[in-house]
């Protein structure tokens, strides 16, 4: 077991030693085993690499790393081989011996595992030349490739904890806060408040005992940027937190992690234990005299606990209900003591700013919105995954250059940002810059980084209904406008999707929205109308079609659609007959079109999805 590092010098010596180990000329294979690669079988692939390396006796020649998220989740399981920056995608267990034989021993590239450009079919070997990566600025996520998140020494080897040492031994707390303010860093949880200003208020607040908190209750459905960071590089968050604690004058911290993120919990717990063993956390950190302890808390599956006051109530062991914020939490938060809460990504930016200086940071991004932002790009886009881009980039660049456009040659319809508090933006706004202010202007918001792309097959009324259903369930019920208002709006939207909408409904939705916005206790309620208002604003004709013509143009709302067989296209293969769960389709013999019985059809869409001839239509 390692003895504690007792000074800055000891850390720097260890860093040098570990850094040398990185440049031994060995072949390095780093395979992504993030949460999103696991459904594709990254675990068995990683195991197979380990056993194959052992079988061939290559332990001394190959540096094999199982890492957190690489970002390009669409193509998982993925691995990078150095030297050469070779990117292999969709690796199967059977491919592993070949990779070892060809790419490690013979230095050959295996063509079938390379990324192929959609339009031209051109193969691309190097990861940093893939359109998905080359248009990103991965200052936070980039190191994930080099780090086994369960090994603190990997983090230290890449320069980890140097910022902490610099802060503790070179910078006074006030100076440190000045640097963070000067960098222009704004809270990445969604609200975009100046981080430095928040720290300053908390430092100045009265009280001997202060707390710092990591909000890792990433509850936005469809956002997993924090997850990728927590599982892939937990020490970067922890280092930021310790630096913040020092600046603010806190000696106790809390990390509040969603219970739905088991891997994040595991990796963060390991990170904390290792940091403590190395003398980077606990009493007298690096011999500086500064003490700081951290506790990890699991959430209980309540969306509202992402709200700062609700989160703090939950940390106290109470029901996660928010309170009115007449007095800010930086003055009276957890147990009524000054508490500084920041999002995971905000904390992870801190070591970068301390190491590289505020000028470096403020040069990235756009004026007033410095730095990068991680988005989870998902939905109907070709290249899904975690992307890190400079603030101010255009939506179009994210969706089309990095994301590779829409799947299956369908047409783009909308992009949803900001989770249930955000909105759906149409094609005409694709050239808007992505930053806190511009997204808010468009009726949406930055949120914690969800970016869900929708195509012509998505119904915007259904999307609005979906978010309101979500929020209705997640409303804590403490204040009436949110508890009742969301319920009524959801009922109206349900009626519209079931063909029972009335012409006055759009107006009614707008009216309830005003009340919700003005009188809800917390952001959950006051931002709840956003998905409805933006879909009405930009896609009003879809609402009208549901209400007036009783038609769902996208073919989603079950009460308004009908499935039928296009006889001319049906070859009578019987695939749909076999898979239909309600026996609604009858086989009429080969080469004869099948017959669909409307009275038995439950509109489950199985036949539509399975038919390769396009012989099932939705009207």
């Amino acid at each position: 077991m390692r003895t504690k590092l007792k000074s800055r010098k000891e850390l720097e010596e260890l860093q040098k030693k570990l850094h040398r180990k990185l440049d031994t000329g060995k072949t390095r294979i780093s395979i992504c085993n993030g949460t999103a690669c696991r459904p594709y079988g990254s675990n068995p692939v990683a195991e197979s690499f380990k056993s194959e390396i052992a079988k061939q006796g290559l332990e001394d020649k190959v540096d094999f790393k199982v890492t957190g998220c690489h970002g390009f989740c669409e193509k998982g399981p993925i691995a990078i081989i150095e030297p050469g920056n070779i990117f292999y995608q969709k690796i199967k267990v059977d491919d592993v011996p070949e990779i070892i034989q060809k790419s490690v021993l013979n230095k050959e590239v295996i063509s079938k595992l390379l990324f192929k450009e959609q339009s031209t079919g051109k193969e691309i070997t190097a990861q940093n030349e893939l359109p998905f990566y080359k248009n990103q600025t991965r200052i936070i996520l980039g190191n994930n490739l080099l780090i086994d998140p369960t090994e603190i020494e990997d983090y230290i080897a890449t320069g980890g904890y140097a910022a902490l040492a610099k802060a503790l031994f070179e910078l006074q707390p006030d100076k440190l806060i000045g640097i963070v303010k000067q960098s222009g860093l704004r809270g990445r949880g969604g609200a975009g408040f100046s981080t430095g200003t928040k720290w300053e208020s908390c430092r100045k607040a009265h009280g001997d005992i202060k707390y710092v908190i990591v909000n890792a209750d990433e509850g936005d459905p469809g956002a997993y940027a924090n997850e990728g960071l927590l599982t892939g590089n937990p020490h970067s968050v922890l280092e930021g937190l310790i630096i913040g604690a020092y600046a603010i004058g806190a000696h106790q911290g809390f990390i509040y992690v969603r219970n739905e993120y088991p891997l994040a919990l595991k990796n963060m717990t390991i990170a904390m234990e290792q940091a403590e063993k190395h003398g980077l956390l606990g009493d007298n950190i690096l011999g500086s005299g500064f003490d700081f302890h951290v506790r990890i808390n699991r959430g209980g599956g309540a969306f509202v606990c992402g709200e700062s006051t609700a989160l703090m109530a939950s940390l106290e062991g109470k029901v996660g209900e928010p309170r009115a914020k007449y007095i800010h939490t930086v003055e009276r938060g957890l147990w009524d003591r000054p508490s500084n809460l920041n999002n995971v990504e905000t904390w992870a930016n801190i070591p970068l700013i301390v190491n590289n200086g505020p000028e470096w940071f403020s040069k990235i991004g756009s004026p007033g919105n410095s730095g990068t932002k991680i988005f989870s790009l998902t939905g109907k886009v070709n290249n899904t995954g975690l992307v890190e881009v400079p603030m101010g980039i255009k939506l179009r660049d994210i969706i089309f250059s990095i994301g590779g456009g829409i799947r299956g040659n369908k047409k783009f319809k909308a992009v949803q940002t900001g989770g249930p508090s955000g909105g759906c933006l149409p094609e005409k706004l694709l050239d808007s810059p992505v930053d806190f202010d511009e997204l808010t202007k468009a009726g949406s918001m930055m949120g914690s980084g969800g970016m869900i792309v929708m195509d012509e097959d998505n119904c915007m009324v259904d999307i609005a209904r979906y978010f309101l259903t979500f929020l209705e369930e997640e409303s804590c019920g403490k204040c009436v406008p949110c508890r009742e208002g969301i319920k009524r709006m959801r009922q109206v939207l349900n009626d519209i999707t079931e063909g029972k909408g009335r012409e006055s409904d759009i107006e009614l939705l707008g009216e309830i929205s005003v009340h919700l916005k003005e009188s809800s206790l917390c952001q959950l309620g006051s931002s709840a109308p956003n998905p409805v208002l933006t879909t009405i604003q930009y896609f009003r004709s879809e609402y009208e079609s549901h209400i007036k013509n009783k038609k769902c143009p996208a073919g989603v709302c079950k009460a308004l659609i009908q499935f039928s067989i296009i006889d001319e296209k049906c070859p009578g293969c019987g695939m749909c007959v076999k898979t239909c769960p309600s026996n609604a389709i009858t086989f009429m013999g080969k080469k004869k079109p099948v017959i669909l019985d409307q009275s038995k059809c439950i509109k489950c869409r199985t036949c539509y999805d399975i038919c390769r001839m396009g012989a099932v239509s939705i009207e």
Binding site: A36, P39, Y40, P262, N297, A302, L315, V319, T378
Partner: protein
């Protein structure tokens, strides 16, 4: 075996602010929150039952009813929704002959929903116990269930 609750309380040093974690550990132990154990918890920690039940019913992660041997979690996150997770959930309901939130008669499966599991790129996602199933479609439901 007998006094698992005491062991859990001890681990957290009787700290009231750790109540959610304590309940999570009890649930991990029993698969749900048994009434007798919550009674014990209330007495040992000197916390009113009302406070324990307010937490146990507020947070979605807790169940006061016994759950099945295998827990199925269907992700209802936005990314999964736009790719049709509702249809997968309905298919599971049909095949298991239960509604969301319920347990099959043979206690083999409990069908639960979750708002996001953090692997949105691979949606629609279903998780059974610790195993993730990505890019689900209706025809994959039956073979998936057969494994359990």
């Amino acid at each position: 075996m007998k006094d698992r609750v005491s062991a859990i309380i001890k681990k957290y040093g009787k700290d009231e602010s750790q109540l959610v974690s304590i309940l999570q550990d009890i649930q991990a132990e029993y698969n749900f929150l048994p009434r007798v154990e919550l009674d014990k918890l209330s007495k040992r920690m000197d916390i009113p039952q009302s406070q324990i039940y307010s937490l146990a019913t507020f947070f979605k992660a807790f169940s006061l009813k016994p759950r099945g041997k295998h827990i199925i979690n269907v992700c209802l996150g936005t990314a999964c929704h736009v790719r049709g997770t509702e249809l997968i959930l309905e298919s599971l309901e049909r095949q298991l002959k239960i509604n969301r939130g319920e347990t099959t008669e043979d206690r083999n499966f409990t069908l639960e929903t979750v708002n996001c599991m953090g692997c949105c790129a691979t949606g629609p996602v279903v998780k059974i116990d610790d195993e993730y199933y990505g890019q689900m479609s209706n025809d994959k439901v039956e073979p998936m269930l057969k494994k359990y």
